[in-house]
Amino acid sequence: MNPTVAARAEELHQLQNDKRGVMVSRMFAVLLVVQYIACVSAAFAVSPYAWAGKERVLHMHVWVAILAGAGITILPLLLAIFRPAAPLTRHVIAASQMLSSALLIHLTGGRIETHFHVFGSLAFLAFYLDWKVIMTATVVVAADHFARGVFWPESVYGVTDPEWWRFLEHAGWVAFEDVFLIWSCIFGQRELRAAALRQAEVEQLTEMEQLKTAALEMALTEIRTATA
């Protein structure tokens, strides 16, 4: 392959990836804010107060939703605004997205339905077409389950003495989805690379055509001048 075409193809591929990164990061910036509002709303809707007889105080979940929700959201939001194309941004977004899932699951009392947020988020993260981002999200889910399984097992498994490998069972379902998402990311990158190469070849051909046309025009001008 012509090295000039290859270099241009690589440049075009990088440009495409950056453009996609910016678009997806901005989408996540909006999503993170929406999720934050949803978390706070869920806390107010599900458990607004803790009671002692007829006395009530604001429930701990409301504080957690407001403070932890904001804390989880702030870094990926700033990165998505100021460094939308940077690889670090997408990894922080992936980790935050999984932490938001964990928070939302907790605030809804561990509802099975809320666990779909994890799987939906993984699919959204695949928009980056970067399989390493999927891996970051998976590591966060597995680490969360592993840490809770060690220090706080009832929160994940309902019993205090689960088998050590139980976190693998939960993470296994995420891995199941990962296989297809990672495959789609690799396939998508291959397609992007092929498209970039085609564009680089077209650009080179166009450039060659333009040079030929210019040379022909110059020759014609010289002939006209000579025959005049």
Binding site: G53, L67, T160
Partner: protein, 211 residues
């Protein structure tokens, strides 16, 4: 005076942005750690355990059907954690022998507006098969049974002997498999053994309010 050039401005801007991002990263890590610890502490801290009478309380107005086992749960209708307890109670009733009579005692303090106790927790309790839902005015029955915490469950056998006292959730507000639920089902079905489990929920009465 030194003139601020364009590259210097750019460098200052970059430094400011880097400092902002480092600060945000620190807040992010600290928040995640603090949230985990706060949630862990909140969820794993049980309520006051009951000092339940070993036999069916004489003072209670709750009637016991002869020849049946009695499963009694104390519930604060506004305690969001108790939704999980009621869900677990429904599960226990489904998986236990039919001669276990469930009763849900819904706390209602004096001086509250009409319908104060009609919450989603109350509605969920009314949907439990075979369950009686009774109002516990001012926590009198909670005191009779020696219970303090919403979600507190008692299982008495057909002779009125206490077989289980405790909660039926693994944590505050978490429905799902747990040893409290499993113990009640096992004792009710096999008719052997005793059990206890930490109870997670809002306070109905305090120690100072006991008889």
């Amino acid at each position: 005076m030194e003139q601020v050039t364009e590259p210097m401005k750019k460098q200052m801007k970059r430094r400011l942005l880097t400092a902002g991002l480092i600060l945000a990263a620190s807040v992010w890590i600290a928040t995640v750690a603090a949230a985990y610890e706060a949630i862990r502490r909140f969820e794993t801290t049980p309520g006051l355990p009951a000092s339940a009478p070993r036999t069916w309380p004489a003072a209670t107005a709750v009637t016991r059907t002869p020849g049946t086992w009695s499963l009694v749960m104390l519930v604060h209708p506004h305690c969001s954690c108790s939704r999980a307890s009621v869900t677990e109670l429904a599960e226990i009733v489904e998986k236990s022998r039919r001669d276990v009579q469930p009763t849900v005692l819904v706390y209602r303090p004096q001086g509250m507006a009409a319908g104060w106790e009609r919450t989603s927790v109350y509605d969920a309790a009314t949907r439990i098969r075979r369950a009686r839902v009774l109002l516990d005015r001012d926590g009198v029955e909670a005191r009779n049974f020696g219970g303090f915490t919403s979600g507190q469950t008692f299982l008495y056998d057909d002779k009125g002997r206490l077989r289980f006292a405790g909660g039926v959730t693994s944590l505050r507000g978490h429905a799902g498999l747990n040893s409290g639920r499993m113990d009640v089902i096992r004792i009710a079905n096999e008719r052997t053994g005793n059990g206890s489990h930490p109870v997670f929920g809002c306070a109905i009465t305090t120690r100072g309010e006991t008889r």
